[in-house]
């Protein structure tokens, strides 16, 4: 029993904490209101009227669908690559001790620790150096590089909790390395990988800075939004897309949270 259990928080602290949380959430809620506004030309508040027509118009826009399709495609491939690389790296770092282990952790974290623009421009200048044309694959290349870290973080945390004796027991009972991996290691780290994969997907789906450097003519959904932000063409459609993006990204985050909440380290804490 902790001694501070019965204590009440000072009222000023409560107000400050609630105010901070409101500051974090009100702007996102505002998007939901704007998706229904009848005003087309400006960001007028309060909305002069409410309508559902923009949902239909956004639904029938081929450019939105094309951008969404590309985003999903890139995020899927990048997540798959990140899952393989991140798990391998996490297994190596947590199961064995070797020279340069710290350096590898640093190497994995570096793409997300350095500002995105540096990753982006570095990749772009490398592409131009080797005359690699921009394509879906150049986008994937950039995304996978920084998605490795979220898978790695989740997997490392889980490996740390998985006892080595389980693996030894499996081996003692006659399983070979592959059987041990399939029947002992994988069920143990499965949910962590799922959570890491979902976070990697969300990260890739949302990424814009690196993509502006590694994408050519194709636009992912964030690039499409960025263009709308700089030169608004049809504000109501942007409002609707923004709202849908919020809803779509919330689901994997909630799912990742429920998958890892019993653990000592919860997914996403170190985005």
């Amino acid at each position: 029993m902790r001694s501070d259990r019965g204590q009440r928080a000072p009222i000023a602290l409560k107000i400050a904490a609630a105010g901070g949380l409101l500051f974090l959430h009100l702007p996102i809620l505002l998007i939901f209101v704007y998706a229904f506004t009848t005003e087309e030309k400006s960001y007028q508040w309060p909305p002069p009227g409410l309508t559902l027509q923009w949902f239909g118009i956004a639904w029938n826009r081929p450019d939105v669908w094309a951008a969404l399709g590309l985003s999903v495609q890139v995020a899927c491939i990048a997540t798959a690559i990140a899952l393989v690389l991140g798990t391998l790296c996490a297994a190596a770092v947590s199961q064995t001790k070797f020279f340069g282990r710290e350096a590898i952790s640093l190497l994995v974290i570096l793409p997300i620790a350095l500002p995105g623009i540096i990753t982006g421009i570095a990749l772009r200048s490398a592409f131009s150096l080797f005359d690699i044309p921009f394509s879906v694959w150049t986008i994937v290349l950039g995304h996978a590089t920084f998605c490795v870290v979220v898978v790695y973080n989740n997997a490392v945390a889980r490996f740390r909790r998985t006892q080595g004796s389980l693996i030894e027991a499996s081996m003692d009972l006659g399983a070979d390395g592959f059987q041990t991996f399939r029947h002992v290691i994988l069920p143990n780290i499965g949910t962590a990988l799922l959570a890491g994969g979902m976070l990697a997907f969300a990260l890739s789906f949302d990424e814009v800075i690196v993509t502006t450097f590694t994408g050519g003519q194709q636009s992912t959904l964030p690039i499409w939004m960025l263009e709308e932000l700089i030169r608004p063409r049809q504000r109501p459609v942007t409002n609707v897309v923004a709202m849908v993006v919020v809803l779509v990204t919330f689901l994997p985050i909630l799912a990742a949270y429920y998958l890892t909440r019993d653990g000592d380290q919860v997914a996403g804490a170190g985005k």
Partner: protein
């Protein structure tokens, strides 16, 4: 335990024959040579990160030592420090100072806003509330970066909700007064430094809350009680007990807010005045201006600043709080 169990078996079978089949033999080989397995496990990620990522970074660094020919506009592939010298020209140096100043202010403001949330979540929130606070920080952290910026474009627009709010409170004179201030003001909030600052604080705030909360979770409640038992006022307790113990967490959070602000080029482009930040300078130099060496030199600036910052943070013990 397994050893005891084994002694009951025939000792002869304790050394099993090798496994048959390709996978069996492969598995045996990995068991006998763990180094080989380690090597195979590490090769793909190291190839990817080492060659693609580090290779690109080094290529970029290399370019910063080239210069651009003023007449032809082509890159001159000779080693020179002239490009770095250009960084010190008044316009470019202004960009660096402006960015670092903004990063420092954003960091400070996020620390102030984050602390009450982190402290309440760490010390008072229990059970359901704890989960609510956690998700309350996590959802904004992970929701789309552009959507967050877009939301602020809606809020800060001249016809937007903030102006309406000030009008309702009959405080338009206050808003106009703030906007007419030199440097930080502007035509409307969405084209002023205040707007840029607000959006930066908003977007990076969760990165400050999480490590601060992690550090505060480790502060035991009885320390606070002991402090007040010994006669300290709440203010004194905060200054002499709570704040020093939370500092590593705040420094860890500041690594994120500082680094993210230094490298961002989208927020000041969408919400802000036309004066450039480092990220925008990099983008403009490599894109429209076609001056890749200068862009490379510019992008070295945040790397160097962050390296120094990380070194200082390490001395503060910030990494234990991550």
């Amino acid at each position: 335990m397994t050893a005891i169990a084994l002694t009951h078996e025939e000792t002869a079978t304790s050394i099993l024959p090798g496994r048959g089949g390709f996978f069996g033999r492969l598995s045996d080989m990995f068991w006998r040579r763990p180094k080989l397995l380690l090597f195979l496990m590490l090769t793909p990620p190291l190839l990817w990160l080492g060659i693609i990522y580090i290779g690109s970074l080094l290529a970029l660094l290399l370019q910063s030592f080239f210069s651009i020919d003023d007449f032809s506009g082509l890159v001159n592939y000779e080693f020179t420090l002239a490009t770095y010298a250009q960084l010190l020209s008044p316009t470019n140096f202004d960009i660096i100072v402006r960015t670092v100043l903004m990063a420092a202010l954003v960091t400070l403001a996020s620390a102030v806003v984050a602390f009450p949330i982190a402290y309440y979540a760490a010390r008072y929130a229990r059970g359901k509330w704890k989960a609510l606070f956690y998700l309350g920080v996590m959802l904004p952290l992970w929701s789309s970066y552009l959507v967050k910026i877009y939301a602020w474009k809606l809020i800060l627009a001249k016809e937007g909700i903030l102006t309406w709010f000030f009008a309702k409170l009959h405080l338009v004179w206050l808003l106009d007064g703030v906007l007419s201030l030199p440097v930080i003001g502007g035509n409307s909030l969405s084209v002023s430094y205040i707007g840029t600052f607000l959006v930066f604080v908003y977007v990076w705030l969760p990165y400050m809350i999480l490590p601060t909360q992690a550090a505060l979770e480790r502060v035991q409640g009885n320390l606070i009680e002991a402090s007040s038992d010994l006669g300290a006022t709440p203010g004194q307790t905060f200054r002499t007990v709570l704040f020093p113990l939370a500092l590593p967490g705040i420094v860890a959070g500041s690594i994120f807010t500082f680094s993210l602000t230094l490298g961002d080029y989208i927020i000041p482009q969408i919400i802000g005045s036309s004066r450039l930040f480092i990220g925008q300078a990099v983008y403009a130099q490599q894109g429209t201006a076609g001056n890749v060496p200068l862009a490379a030199a510019f992008s070295v600036v945040p790397i160097v600043i962050m390296a120094v910052y990380l070194w200082l943070a390490k001395k503060q013990g910030a990494f234990d709080a991550l």
